[in-house]
Amino acid sequence: MNNLSYFLAGLTLLLFGLAIAPGRVYPRWVGLMAAVSGAAFLYDGAVVVAYEGFAPSIIKVVGLLVLSVWAFVMVALMWRYGNRRRIARLGSTPPGPAQRPAGTR
């Protein structure tokens, strides 16, 4: 069960990393970090835990460290994206009833 869960976690991170890597919303290197972390988890789940059991694995440690740094980097980037999106939405809000010309009543 452990190997399947870590394999899936790795696959998820790898897919998100590859989705971010084209760099249209977030920087390319952030996507590469997620992809590296995902590949490490994927390998740990599919090879290390599956065939060697709970053996100490440097690859898992690397995956965990990269994931931790990535998650904290994403705080700033996602928060900034949220703010930009909100400002863009406020800028495109149609005028309310108070701005309607008096003659249209």
């Binding site: 991170l13 897919l15 084209p22 994403m74 980037l77």
Partner: protein, 149 residues
């Protein structure tokens, strides 16, 4: 471009708020997992089953540790679900891949639910049964604990 972006926005919701919730959830998940790992029994070699089962049976926080880990993973995966909305906001390869990432995140959450239920609850009962079993039932109880492991 703006019209295409608008078409990919979250239906019936606010993707700006979703993204910011995800920004908080992801590092919070890492903190939950890290703190839980500190309390996880880890003195014995994890492949030495008799020693490690004995250690687990003596732990008073076994289920709490696994609930903490589980909650941490859910927060982390929730953050990835939120990330989906921003990654898929602009058309391109990233937006094409993001739904597969979202599906994988949901599948992973389901897998961790089963993992923590087996590891945090079933294994706990199995090792307790093994420790307190009479000599005649010790072997069978150990086999059951090995399966749960």
């Amino acid at each position: 471009m703006e019209a295409r972006e608008a078409a990919t926005r979250q239906v019936g919701g606010d993707d700006a708020i979703t993204t910011r919730i995800g920004a908080v959830a992801m590092p919070l998940g890492i903190v939950f997992i890290a703190v839980s790992e500190i309390f996880h029994p880890a003195k014995e070699d994890p492949m030495d089953f008799p020693a490690v089962f004995d250690e687990y049976a003596q732990s008073n926080v076994w289920t709490t540790v696994h609930l903490g880990e589980y909650f941490g993973f859910l927060l982390l995966l929730g953050g990835l679900v939120a990330l989906y909305y921003s990654v898929s906001a602009r058309p391109g390869v990233g937006a094409g891949l993001a739904p597969f990432g979202l599906a994988a995140a949901v599948t992973t959450a389901a897998s961790f639910t089963v993992l923590q239920a087996v590891d945090g609850v079933t294994l706990r009962y199995a090792v307790d049964t093994w420790v307190s079993a009479p000599a005649s039932r010790k072997e069978a109880a150990f086999g059951a604990a090995e399966v749960a492991r």
